[in-house]
């Protein structure tokens, strides 16, 4: 059942189109992440959903009712949503309990009931012992949790999160990401999450919408995005990849420098002279052939970087052609210039247009 619908949403600032013909649909209880580099329009989209920005064209609907259009935008205070901001926006002049209870206060919830719900929510985020502290006395992670509790205690129609983890340090980030996912599983609010960090998006999301320059590149589950990227941008943005061109015939692609054709995992692709494919570095193997892989040909190592968890090799086909990135296990040490045979796992090959 569709909860939130963005229909051909556009936002222009002057001549620049910050959000360009974006259409998206969220089901009830789903967590969708808007992912993309800075300037891609994800924050603007989120603010349009919240009601802080009016669309230049297109509409936003919740449960079938239009709340934003170029003609009329319902103000944020009447949308029944809630939002967690990048800076948390915890009011410094109120205690933790007052912060969390604010939304209930505005909705004129009876005080006894409000107190109980606030107490429950603080327990959920493990902050009950800090209920009467002021934000200045809290750490970043604790402030985060106050923001979460505040946003969720009002049981919003749609929960919006604007890069909430970017102000935290790395190890805390992982912990909080898991926390957010846990809370989502518990409460199942329809959630829109915005971030530029793809590993965060992969951890948290039901589906990820990849945005670039205001346009939607692809919306899919994390697995599909990684393994079945449909555009060069998505392929390059999610994880590392090799983007190479080759001849595509009868569902199989031949790359320069190799004679072996590799089957492409797409249903009935058309023949193309100059087709682009994405090949994940983890699906390329150097040296002895491994089960399930196709030998491609001879390559020579042109560059290498040791990264601790794996070797990053740059190899070029001996017969000439584009260089390819290969990730190998830490133990396989190869010198520059070493020639070795390259095999490929077809599952890591995706046709991108």
């Amino acid at each position: 059942m569709s909860k939130l619908q963005l229909k051909r949403l556009c936002k222009n600032y002057g001549a620049a189109a910050v959000v360009d013909d974006l259409s998206l649909e969220l089901r009830t209880g789903e967590l969708v992440t808007l992912l993309g580099p800075s300037g891609c329009g994800k924050t603007t989209t989120l603010r349009m959903i919240a009601g802080f920005v009016e669309p230049s064209a297109g509409t936003i609907e919740v449960d079938g009712t239009e709340i934003s259009s170029s003609k009329r935008t319902v103000p944020p205070e009447h949308r029944g949503m809630s939002m967690i901001f990048q800076s948390y926006a915890i009011w410094p002049n109120m205690t933790v309990a007052q912060n969390v209870g604010f939304g209930l206060d505005v909705r004129r919830t009876p005080p006894a009931q409000a107190k109980q719900r606030v107490g429950e929510m603080l327990d959920v985020v493990h902050l009950a012992h800090l209920a009467h502290r002021y934000p200045a006395e809290l750490s970043g992670g604790q402030q985060q949790r106050v923001a979460l509790a505040r946003a969720m205690v009002v049981r919003p129609e749609v929960l919006l999160l604007d890069e909430p983890l970017s102000n935290l340090d790395a190890n805390l980030r992982e912990e909080m990401a898991n926390e957010i996912r846990r809370l989502h599983d518990e409460f199942r609010f329809t959630t829109v999450y915005v971030t530029h960090d793809q590993s965060e998006a992969m951890t948290i999301s039901d589906r990820i919408a990849v945005l670039n320059m205001g346009k939607l590149e692809q919306i899919d589950t994390p697995w599909n995005l990684y393994n079945r990227p449909r555009t060069p941008f998505v392929a390059g943005f999610i994880g590392r990849t090799n983007l190479v061109s080759g001849q595509l015939r009868a569902g199989q692609i031949t790359l320069d420098g190799f004679c072996t054709a590799v089957p492409v995992q797409q249903n009935a692709p058309r023949d193309q002279v100059d087709a682009r494919v994405s090949i994940r570095p983890q699906s390329l193997y150097l040296g002895a052939a491994v089960d399930g892989t196709l030998p491609m040909g001879l390559v020579s190592v042109v560059a290498r970087t040791y990264l601790g968890e794996y070797w990053d090799y740059m190899v070029r086909p001996v017969a000439g052609g584009e260089a390819l990135k290969v990730h190998a296990s830490p133990s396989s040490v190869l010198e520059i210039g070493h020639e070795s045979s390259l095999s490929i796992d077809p599952a890591g090959v995706a046709l991108v247009d």
Binding site: F52, H78, A89, W91
Partner: protein, 572 residues
Amino acid sequence: MSEATLTPALGGRRSPGRLADPALWLFSVLIALLILLVANPILRLVWDSFHTAEGGWSLQSYAVALGNARNLQALVNSLALGAAVTVLTLALGVPLALAVSRSNMPARGLTHLSVLAAFVMPNFLGAIAWILLAGPNAGWLNRLWLSGAEKGPFNIFSFWGLAFVIALYTYPLVYVFTKAALDLVSTELEDAAAIHGAGKFQTMWRVTLPLALPSVIGAAILIFLEAIALYGTPALIAIPARINLATTQLVSFFQYPLQIEQAAAFAMPILLLTVVMLMLQRRLLARRGFVSVSGKGGERRPLDIGRWKWVLLAYAALIGLLSVVLPLVILVMASLSKAWGRGLASGNLTLGNYRTIFFEQVTVRDAIVNTVSYSMATALICVLMGICIAYATQRRVTPFPTVIQFLALAPVAVPGLILAIGLYAAYAGPPFSLYGTGLLIVVAFTTRFLPIAVTACAAAVRSLNPELEEAVRVLGGGRITVLAKVVLPLLKKTLVGVFILVFVICTKELSTAVFLTGPSSRVVSVLTLDLSEQGNYETLAAMGVVLVVITTLVVAAGMRVAGRDFMLRRGA
């Protein structure tokens, strides 16, 4: 608890039409008020200048007002005075700002306080003190200097005497602007110059000062405009000095028979000049490339200037002596004298003057009460209107925020005396008939000082993270809830600071009040002028001392609440 079904206590997506938004009504009221306060008087003034007393359209008022050689000389004199004052204030304010902001001169805190004291002292009171100090024949400094000679070297009743006195009490403005700009210059910029071989003074001259230049020029323009619009000090010093100035000339148009149309016509060139210079100033300060305005601007280390710090300290001490210490001493002494000319002779000391002003001369007591109450009322209204207007324009709540902002800041372009004429023309007579009431004074002061309140509140609002307000709205609070629950509590300190700043400025204000006070609504500044006609400096000094004491107490209380810097800060 894990139910995510919505209990839409907000009524889901019920959204009232824009018209019912109470915030919008509130802000519309503000626009109406602004039009009444600002647009009406100024427009009325322009209108009057193109009419004659009989009511017909004509340029005759201009012909009479500006055709007279003496009147034109007055304008020229005022321009010359403005230039002289500007030069002097730059010489006073810029070195002090450099010393306090960037050098390792000792007693920087004390210097800062002395600038604050010069700011609190009313211009006309300083003028009185300097008449007592430097009157050519009886002035104290002259008498000390003399040892047989007929006349002392100092004559306050001269062009440079006048410029000097005005500069002594307006230089704090230059200091504030310069210091604010210098505070934002990161030491890294100076270090970079040092690494490239620049000495300390080269660095100051080629790196530090140029970065502050736009602010300094901006302040200089404001000083120029203020100097040509002053009335109190010119009335006290320029008349005996036989220098006719634009402001004293304007006042003479108000003598019988009332020639308000000619006064309006005479005021137009000054108004135009002010507008032009302000536009210039805005363009200068809008070139943000010079100093990064956001945030704190990086680390600052005081520059070690070696032996020069003693020179600067001596200079700072001299300025403090001239602007604060000497005048206060002479005022206190005069207030305790029976005849100020006799000095500390025995039998000359008395508390009688204080007894007179508190118990006997009712007009003086009333004037002090009036001054305090009008100033408080004005400060309160300015703060409330200021925060509403600042919020409405910064957060774009109302339509046409630029128009509101323009209206709110427009009075800056109108010299106080001229604004008073406009307000007089608009409101003194029927149908409003506010002449002689305290309300008219409060209206005049509010119109004049609203720009200060709006600017300070706008800076404060800008410093607020907008997400704090958005968080309220997302949870269902309307604009008024945002203001009441988050914005006002967070800005409490700033607002107190603005209140006290406006209060102090009101107590010093003379030019705006001089036409608009009636017998029952007289304020200390106007009364000072009246009493000075009688040469009754002893009573005057006592009144001045009382006023300074009251103002200092209020400022001290403010510093407690809002921090040491609250009045001389330009940001939040």
